[in-house]
């Protein structure tokens, strides 16, 4: 398996990366979504801009009330981070469920959300934790809430020449949170991933990956639960269907995993 020919450029700084992307380059972070598709020749960028070593995209740190995760931080590093375990434990356990150890050693949170696979794990967690995605483009930096970021199948609110730099997540001290995943047995991606955050004030945020073309916050369920009704997950959503899980079964699983998440809080 060999990709089409392309030119490899390693960005020397954030500014350099942004300039190279503006020239039509495609960002390469961990490469664990991009390279497989290039090898299968489903994707053929002319120029790859390696942002994998930019210090600006690295690191996990507290900034006031927010935990700031660099876009280039690997799933493995997030799973192992004491800061994350302390302030966003769901992110640590959730990251530990992505792929396998080698995938987690290379794949990055920024790459995952830019790729926006409907079955990816991060989106549900980010939406439930009310994260903000920080992007840098030729005309500067902007921020979009995770809830608005994922717009459809492999599509996001990011512009082509933008680079995700950070994920900022409110510290959830005193909150309870969990991510529950039903994996596709071959790929280990999520057939259903359900993230639930219960804040100290008792309010809930519920989000799903894998269920629909885009990950989504299930406000319906949040309302039902807060008013003591039985929850009906993914009601009214268009639901994915494939060999492993039909629409009907997936919807059923969404409810099972919602209940499991609630029970695990």
């Amino acid at each position: 398996m060999i990709t089409y020919p392309f030119q490899y450029k390693r960005a020397s700084s954030l500014a350099d990366a942004v300039a190279l992307l503006a020239d039509g380059g495609k960002a390469l972070s961990g490469g664990h979504s991009l390279i497989p598709t290039m090898k299968l020749r489903l994707n053929a960028p002319d120029v790859l801009v390696d942002v994998g070593r930019l210090p600006e995209l690295k690191g996990i740190a507290l900034d006031g009330n927010e935990l700031v995760i660099g876009a280039g931080v690997t799933h493995g590093a997030i799973a192992a981070s004491d800061l994350v375990k302390q302030h966003l434990p769901m992110f640590a356990t959730g990251a530990g469920q992505i792929g396998d150890p080698s995938v987690r050693n290379r794949g990055t949170i920024g790459g995952s959300i830019a790729h926006a696979d409907p079955a990816a794990d991060w989106p549900a967690m980010l939406i439930a934790a009310d994260a903000t995605i920080v992007m840098q483009g030729p005309s500067g930096s902007r921020q979009v809430k995770a809830e608005q970021f994922f717009t459809g199948l492999f599509s996001t609110a990011m512009h082509e020449n933008e680079l995700i730099t950070q994920i900022r997540v409110p510290k959830h001290d005193g909150a309870k949170m969990t991510y529950q995943k039903f994996s596709q047995p071959a790929s280990r991606y999520a057939i259903v991933g359900c993230a639930v955050v219960k804040n100290a004030d008792g309010s809930l945020r519920v989000a799903f990956s894998g269920v629909s073309e885009a990950p989504f916050r299930d406000k319906n369920v949040e309302a039902q639960l807060s008013s003591g009704q039985t929850a009906d997950a993914a009601a009214g959503m268009s639901i994915l269907s494939d060999h492993y899980a039909s629409e009907e079964y997936r919807k059923h699983l969404a409810n099972v995993y919602l209940n499991r998440a609630l029970a695990a809080l």
Partner: protein, 798 residues
């Protein structure tokens, strides 16, 4: 035949000797075909049909040919003089009509039709793999897409798309075996209870981890070809390729099967790519390498199973099996692969007696063409399908009749027979089992399970969201294929003996050459244990050579769990010849009669004295024959061929315990118990390993694996992201034990262990899920394999 097993000093036999071959693999020094680089080597990439059924209207290679680094592109027109890949077994229609055997062309030429996705149209040869890949994509082919069919039952329906115009009903042949159908019908009509099951034994992909790889290398000066190939049987490939495909003389062809990364059947067959790289290397006078991608492997490696079956088992009021009636449609794929016709027939129908005294059995088999890659032997080959059928019926019948499934089996088992003091057991379906003792394996299995405790736990679990189930499977299979005369009468176009050469070097070190081939089975250890013990010398003094057609006269290779039973027996024959001649030399040197000598611990001793001569001294004498028996040839080097007297018949009991999540339908395999009787065991560690691997594959079929074709006969799950291979976290530690009933007709008393794990386990796992569901009040008869969570959930909710 005497059993040498008992007579030998057995320092190594029966011991879990650590494998001799391991060192190169754990240090990264294994040499698989793709690791080999020859001077001037070129790289091939195939242009393949994206459609399951389509006519090649035109091929335009101009752009590809102009690309720098492209050396040659060949199409069907260039190879039209080559024959197709042959089929090695002929099974005629029951009315006597000859088996329909379409040509399997090397490349699909303009005007011809591709018959499955991946059928090759052109071979592009370039200086690098990358260039060949790029150029192959630039070959422009105009296609006329035609309707296609993948499901064998669908292919039989009137109006189904035709695979071969000349065979409009898509039938390759039909076949039946057993008692006359009228007798079976009568037995079924008289039965007090008939258990009926309509099911699919789904198509699975062998998935040896090393993708197939070939290097063809032609040497102009010697006019000699060398083919490096990831094969299970180098000599067989040489025979098929030389005699049937390329029409080149065999003595000018050397076939080497270096380290091979697993086979499981898929590397038995001769494939078009093998012949094409060999042929192309001559056209270009440069070596040509091709290595399959995994995506290609999914499309092109012969698949396994793929039966659609209706099975009925009749019982009298006491639960005695009275009859078995089977109607099956088996998929052959688009072309008949090397052993394909034998698999659903002589390797399947003949095993339908199982371990039961069933008096009347009939199988009706129709083998059909579809627009899919060939189906051929995959680990177990026919016997897993037979076992699946029988053992699903047994457990289901027990549930339906309110009987205990273990009890029902005990009641119906064939009584013990050792094949020595009495003849073997003559089945209703042609075979005569060699030796069997079926009660102990099931008894031991139940003991390991803790049956009574399990049933109590199951009752408790039924009150919760996690159901527990146990599934049984007791199997008998046929290994060590086979007496050549028997298989010849049944349509095999080859003999199925094995050959071996034992070459004692002048210093008493021994080189053993075998026609068997190891691709994970550990021959380099097991065979050496046997030789070292038989000769009473250290294992370090013995080396095994395999996988090179130039090193050994002939060989049939490794499949059907035959290596030790057939290949090992050939080695024993050669050792006997060595010892016989050695005794003559020893007697001469010791100035006694041969009859006064006994051989033990590496030396001949004059009985009752301390006069002796060592094996090494005798060897040296044989090569430096100064003081030597008159008329005796120098040298100590013997070849033998061993043609077995019968198949061997291992048997065993596999028990699965599962937990089923009522909410999601997800099944967790909690325990897998296997008690196997594979005859005598040379290396228990290696045999256990073989069983483990087989279990994982059998469990894989039950729970995870299976092809999915769409309405255009496209394989839609041909990657590891879609086709679910069992992983470490899907499986429990296996619980294995053994019972030993020696094979009465080969010198080592061995039966074969390579496939047993895959034969017994599949039905036990499915039975366990059905049992779990019944315990929860869901009286379902069948769940399609693989039992995905959704299928199990639906079974509980429909």
């Amino acid at each position: 035949m005497t059993n040498f097993f008992k007579k030998m000093s057995n320092k190594f036999i029966g011991q879990s000797i650590k494998r001799v071959e391991d060192k190169r693999f754990i240090t990264g020094k294994g040499r698989y075909t793709d690791d080999i680089v020859l001077p001037g080597m070129l790289h091939a990439h195939f242009v393949r049909s994206p459609y399951a059924h389509a006519r090649v209207v035109s091929i335009d290679m101009t752009e590809a040919q102009a690309m720098p680094g492209v050396i040659a592109i060949y199409t069907g027109d260039d190879v039209k003089d080559l024959n197709g890949v042959p089929c090695g077994w002929q099974v005629n229609f029951r009315n006597g009509e000859t088996m329909r055997e379409p040509k399997h062309p090397m490349l699909i030429a303009t005007g011809d039709t591709a018959k499955h996705a991946g059928d090759p149209v052109a071979i592009v040869i370039a200086e690098s793999k990358a260039i060949a890949t790029d150029a192959a994509e630039s070959v422009q082919i105009e296609w006329d897409e035609l309707p296609a069919v993948a499901n064998p039952a669908e292919a039989l329906k009137p109006g189904a798309p035709k695979v071969h115009e000349q065979f409009p009903d898509n039938t390759a042949f039909d076949w039946s075996l057993g008692n006359p159908i009228e007798e079976v019908d009568a037995a079924m009509a008289a039965a007090a209870h008939v258990t009926t099951l309509e099911f699919v034994n789904q198509r699975v992909v062998p998935n040896a981890m090393e993708p197939r790889a070939y290097i063809g290398a032609y040497d102009e000066v010697s006019d000699k070809y060398t083919l490096y190939t990831s094969t299970q049987n180098p000599h067989l490939i040489r025979l098929l390729m030389c005699a049937f495909v390329l029409g080149i003389p065999e003595h000018k062809v050397r076939v080497v099967g270096p380290d091979v990364g697993g086979g499981f059947g898929s590397k038995i067959y001769h494939y078009t790519e093998e012949a094409l790289v060999t042929w192309a290397s001559k056209q270009l006078s440069q070596p040509v390498k091709w290595t399959s991608d995994r995506s290609e492997a999914f499309l092109l490696d012969a698949h396994g199973r793929d039966h659609v079956t209706k099975a009925e088992m009749g019982f009298d009021a006491d639960g005695n099996v009275m009859g078995l009636r089977i109607k099956t449609v088996a998929n052959m794929g688009a072309y008949l692969s090397t052993f394909a016709p034998a698999v659903p027939t002589y390797l399947h129908g003949t095993l339908l007696q199982g371990l039961y005294v069933t008096p009347k059995i009939n199988i009706d088999m129709t083998c059909v063409f579809t627009h899919t890659v060939a189906v051929d032997a995959y680990r177990g080959a026919g016997r897993p399908e037979a076992t699946y059928l029988l053992e699903r019926l047994m457990d289901l019948a027990a549930l339906e009749m309110g009987r205990d499934p273990a009890e029902l089996r005990f009641q119906n088992f064939i009584p013990k027979f050792d094949g020595v003091t009495e003849p073997g057991y003559q089945t209703q379906v042609a075979l005569q089992y060699d030796s069997g003792d079926y009660h102990p394996v099931l008894e031991r299995g139940l003991e390991m399970l803790g049956y009574a405790d399990f049933r109590a736990a199951q009752k408790e679990a039924a009150k919760t969201n996690k159901l527990l189930g146990v599934g049984f499977s007791t199997y008998v299979e046929a290994c060590g294929i086979a007496p050549s005369a028997v298989v010849g009468a049944l349509g095999a176009r080859a003999g199925l003996y094995e050959s071996a050469q034992v070459r004692v070097q002048p210093t008493g070190k021994v080189s053993v050459f075998t026609g068997s081939h190891s691709h994970g089975q550990g021959h380099e250890t097991t065979f050496v244990q046997v030789v070292a013990d038989k000769l009473g010398i250290p294992m370090e003094d013995v080396d095994l050579v395999h996988g090179d057609s130039d090193a050994l006269a002939f060989g049939m290779g490794t499949y059907g769990s035959r290596s030790l039973a057939v290949g090992g027996s050939a080695i024993i024959k050669s050792i006997d010849k060595v010892l016989e001649k050695g005794a003559k030399i020893a007697a001469h040197k010791l100035e006694c009669a041969e009859g006064d000598l006994e051989y033990a611990e590496g030396k001949w001793t004059v009985k009752g004295t301390d006069k002796s001569i060592g094996f090494g001294d005798v060897a040296l004498t044989a090569y430096v024959p100064h003081v030597y028996p008159a008329g005796l040839e120098p040298g100590l080097d013997f070849s033998s061929f061993y043609d077995p007297a019968n198949f061997t018949y291992p048997f065993g009991c596999h028990i699965a315990v599962v937990e089923v999540d009522r909410e999601t339908g997800k099944t967790t395999l909690k325990r897998m118990i296997a008690v196997d009787d594979v005859g005598n065991v040379i290396n228990p560690m290696i045999v256990d390993g073989q069983i483990h691997g087989g279990l994982a594959q059998g469990i894989g079929q039950a729970m995870f694996e299976g092809t999915i074709y769409d309405e255009n006969a496209q394989l839609t799950n041909g990657t590891y992201m879609d086709y679910c291979m069992p992983r470490a976290d899907d499986l429990p530690m296996f619980e294995t034990d053994r019972r030993t009933t020696p094979c009465p007709h080969n010198p080592l008393g061995v039966k074969g262990a390579g496939e047993a794990g895959a034969i017994g386990s599949t039905p036990s796992v499915v039975n366990a899920v059905i049992d779990a569901l019944w315990s929860g009040g869901h009286q379902v008869k069948d769940i399609l394999m693989p039992m995905t969570p959704e299928r199990v959930w639906r079974a509980m909710n429909n």
